[in-house]
Structure formats: C-alpha cells, structure tokens
Symmetry: none
Subunit: 154 residues, 2 copies
Amino acid sequence: MQGQNISDIIERYLKEILADSEEIEIRRSEIADQFDVVPSQINYVIKTRFTIQNGYLVESKRGGGGYIRIEKVKLLDDIDVLDSLIRVIGDSLSERDAISILGSLYEDAVLSKREASILASAIAKSSLNLSDRNLEEQVRAKIMVGILNHLRYE
Amino acid sequence: MQGQNISDIIERYLKEILADSEEIEIRRSEIADQFDVVPSQINYVIKTRFTIQNGYLVESKRGGGGYIRIEKVKLLDDIDVLDSLIRVIGDSLSERDAISILGSLYEDAVLSKREASILASAIAKSSLNLSDRNLEEQVRAKIMVGILNHLRYE
DNA sequence: TCTACTTTGACTAATGTTGACTATTATTAT
DNA sequence: ATAATAATAGTCAACATTAGTCAAAGTAGA
C-alpha cells in the first residue's frame, strides 16, 4: 500500500513519463501547481527518489527559461566495487592511495590508461597545491568519490 | 526541449553560422532588431556564451561602420589562447566556466565525451561540496589548470 | 510514544531582460 | 584643421523569472 502521499504520487507521475522517454524536462512551478504543492516539494521528491543510486541524473537551470531535467541512466555492473571503494575512502585520501585506486580501476578496465592519467593529474598534490594537508586529503577524497559515483553509469 | 529563453536562441543562431565559418561579424543593432530585444542583450549573450572558456575570441569597434566580430579558436592549439585562458581562470573558477572549458576541449577533440564528463563530475560543486564558496572555486581553478597543463604536454 | 518521513514557506542564489547613461569612432560643417 | 554631430558599441544597475536550501511544523506507522 504505498503511494498514498503526494510525494509518492508525483514520483509515480514522473517515472511513468520516464518509462517512455530517456529524459524529462519540467518547470518546477508547473508540476507544483499541477499537484497543488509548494515548489520546494518537487526538490524533495527529486532528492529522495531520483538519486544516482537509483539510476537518475538531474540537471537544472534557474532564471528565465529555467528547468529541471531528469535523465534515466544505465547502471553498470561494477557498482559493488565502487561502493566499497567509496566506503574505504571515507573523507580523506592521500595522493598515494588515490593513485593506487586509479591504477586498480585501470586494471579492472573501468578506466582507460589515458583517463587514469588525466585524473591523476587532476588530484595530484602539485595541482591541488593546498597549504593544509588535511584539507588537501579531504578535497581529494571528495573528488575521487565524485569520480566513482560517475562511474556507476554509462 | 532546451533553449526557451531568447538568449539561448540568439546563441544558437550565432553558433549555427559559426559552424560553417571560422568567424562572424555582426552589427549589434541588426541582431537585436532581428530578435526583437534591446541591443545590450547582445552583449549579455556574448558575455555569457562566447567567452574564451567557450573557445571564442571577440573583437568590436564602435562608431560608424562598427561591428562585433566573434572568432572560434581552439584552446590548446595556440599558446597565446591557452595563456589567456589560464589568466582568465586566475585562482578562481566557477562550475559553469569549468564545464564550458571541458566542453570546448571536447569540441576540439582534445577530450572524448566520456573523459570530459568524468572530469566534470570530478570538479562538480556537488562533488567538491565545500561549505566555503571561495575555497571551492580556488580548488576548482587549481584542478583545471593542472588538467590543462597535463593535456598541453601530453 | 517515538521516529522517520513528509509538507510548508521564508529566505537565498542563479540567470535573464531592460533601459538609461557612457565611450568610441566616423562623418559633416565651419 | 577643428568642432559639432551622428552612428555605433559598452557598462551597469534595477527588475524579472526561475530553482535551491533549510529548518520548523505536521503526519503516519511501529
């Protein structure tokens, strides 16, 4: 018996459209009006039901002609590996560990050699160049988690 | 379904012309008349969509016979272009500008679509997730310069 | 009752549009 | 030549139009 509250109903509505098309582009206020809720409820629905873990990418733009676009993406098989890497990284990552992760992603054919080397330059100590060591490792962890999350889908 | 606002439409119009020729020379008031907007809107379109980050150089002249000339350039082919890009980045880079740069590198065939999108997720606001906005943009600038330098010497 | 989930709205942020005013260059009149 | 005028483009700030964030209040199920 799920689907009683308005968030579930909006979710179902959007997912029905996404069953037929790869993506959907909405105007937040229109959907809010349509279901008679405040606009920020649409953000709530998206944040709780259209996550990358569920295979959805969301982009938006503010201002005149603004929109929210939800895209359905194909999740890949290596997700368990990615999840455990994300867990291991936590909130701090040294350059050495980062390079070893990139290396194993290459070994596993998740990344090409070139992709791994470009990413290595992106998270190198010499690029980040932050005076605070802890901060540097925190930032590197976040970048790496962002990359791993991206690798979940095609 | 993208491009509902008039700025996007003018952008698309100009870029269609630039797809065929290296550069385009316009009279500001003519384009403004053509799309029924005030002349300064053309400046807005140029300032937000024809930047060096997007791979365009713009020159203009006022007075009788005045014009605005937009030229398409490749970011990594010309050391002067790369230098001015790096100068414009300075020590702070917004996500929007970063995505523009990655998009330009893709158009120039320096990066594959996949490489560009992985890098986009590495420097995304949602990945970096730093509470301090200035710090976030500083970090992004450093990462991007690191990437550009790597690609230059590759 | 307790807890997690949902709903709401005030405030914030990003982007786009407009027009008054300014700056520059070319042309015309003196 | 020089000065006035015309013909361009540039800047900036006010206003308009969207979406995002956050936390308080409400609700439903164990």
